[in-house]
Subunit: 224 residues, 2 copies
Amino acid sequence: MTSHAKQGIPAATVARLPLYLRALGTLSDEGVTTVSSEELAAAAGVNSAKLRKDLSQLGSYGTRGVGYDVDYLVYQVSRELGLTQDWPVVIVGLGHLGHALANYGGFASRGFEVRALVDADPDIVGTRVAGLVVSPLDALEEIINAQGVAIAVIATPAMAAQDVCDRLVASGVSSILNFAPSMLVVPEHVEVRKVDLSIELQILAFHEQRKAPLLTPMAQAATS
Amino acid sequence: MTSHAKQGIPAATVARLPLYLRALGTLSDEGVTTVSSEELAAAAGVNSAKLRKDLSQLGSYGTRGVGYDVDYLVYQVSRELGLTQDWPVVIVGLGHLGHALANYGGFASRGFEVRALVDADPDIVGTRVAGLVVSPLDALEEIINAQGVAIAVIATPAMAAQDVCDRLVASGVSSILNFAPSMLVVPEHVEVRKVDLSIELQILAFHEQRKAPLLTPMAQAATS
DNA sequence: AAGCGCTTGTGAACGAGAGCACAAAGTGAG
DNA sequence: CTCACTTTGTGCTCTCGTTCACAAGCGCTT
Ligand SMILES: NC(=O)c1ccc[n+]([C@@H]2O[C@H](COP(=O)([O-])OP(=O)(O)OC[C@H]3O[C@@H](n4cnc5c(N)ncnc54)[C@H](O)[C@@H]3O)[C@@H](O)[C@H]2O)c1
Ligand SMILES: NC(=O)c1ccc[n+]([C@@H]2O[C@H](COP(=O)([O-])OP(=O)(O)OC[C@H]3O[C@@H](n4cnc5c(N)ncnc54)[C@H](O)[C@@H]3O)[C@@H](O)[C@H]2O)c1
């Protein structure tokens, strides 16, 4: 029983590591070699104690009285996130959003490589998007196996999402990023993250509505 | 002192209300008139006790022994989220992502109306996207005031995001949905939500890496 | 080598959220 | 009317996460 505590890094910490990584990358580009938790926390927009606790989960990579070595920390965080290797990614659904994603340069810069594009529409299959030829849906299983894809992006309409998801999982994909507004049901071992525009906007609307009534004269009077 | 508890709805609850609303919409379309917390929770993918607690924050809209009236609950949740009114939205940055967003039908269906598109590139300004003519960046303030925009979407490169954000805030926008991978600094009263592709993928990569070593023969042997 | 100032790493207090379990409140049958 | 059954609304506990505050540790100066 090694009490390394390496076993479980809190989910909240994992979600922030990419944030730190980005801030560190910027600092590194600026030629900064050493950074304190206070500075890095400010750059990432978090509390410095939280940042220190997060980083301490990975090990003791700081130097008291000095701070953290930027490049070394970049390496350690990258390693922890599994970014020292490249991850082949497949995008399913090449409508408006799928096109944008396929053309997005931000993938490759962090170790993700879009290896294949898949769509169900015969008019789209065969066309060239971002340097790749769009494959038919039938080829999905073959592509996943041939390319060793473990991470997939779903950008199909909501109705098709669960179906596509099932096929991805059956083919061995165990991490899915879902843009369709639907609840995906998956086996225990599959990790799904969803990005939902509509939900974000609705949350913003909630806050807007909360603010608006405060400006009315009536509300002012009621507080007296 | 009205003990209405109307004052503070937990953030976690607000984030789930759109989920419930979507599930309720589907049920309503299917002709379902009444739903129990158990059923709705399953449809939304959450624990039923959590759902009941969330809904009880809005008021006592259920009937014991029966459940919730679907249409009535749709109305109450919509009202709470501020979706009974239309929100004019402006999209800044019409590259790949901005085009996809502008063409996305999911906005209007929930009370969000894209009123204006803004870009800095002279080649893009003046073109027609999704039925709207793209306006120049200079017109930003005027558009926001004229259209009464309170919610803005930033889809510019990261470098331009803070600058655009500052101008939006100065013009009176108080809710921002940011797609650029950058930390926006805003005054207290402005609500920012960010959607970050790259972060989501990195979190997936972390989990993939955690899983991978478990499949090696050595790990298998170690468990015996 | 000793002292001083700075920064990390972490114990501990605090707060928010998840989920259990059950009383309260409704429906419908007899 | 009463009883059995269903489902809501909520008190309570437990877990997870955040933040404070400070001892421990490091380097620089004298
Ligand atoms: N466009 C946006 O900005 C945006 C924003 C948020 C969410 N979304 C969501 O993302 C998804 C895609 O949006 P979009 O605007 O690109 O839609 P779209 O209609 O433009 O594209 C959908 C694509 O999926 C393909 N497709 C349909 N069924 C398929 C299947 N079974 N297998 C593979 N491909 C299939 C279609 O041929 C089409 O090319 C939708 O669920 C939408 O709700 C889009
Ligand atoms: N494309 C994607 O799938 C994707 C995914 C995740 C995140 N993002 C992020 O979204 C943003 C946009 O991505 P994209 O692929 O559409 O990039 P893009 O380069 O295709 O588009 C950027 C657009 O913003 C405009 N612009 C630049 N400076 C501006 C300014 N100051 N004011 C107004 N407009 C300005 C440009 O003219 C261009 O049209 C980027 O920050 C990117 O990192 C994109």
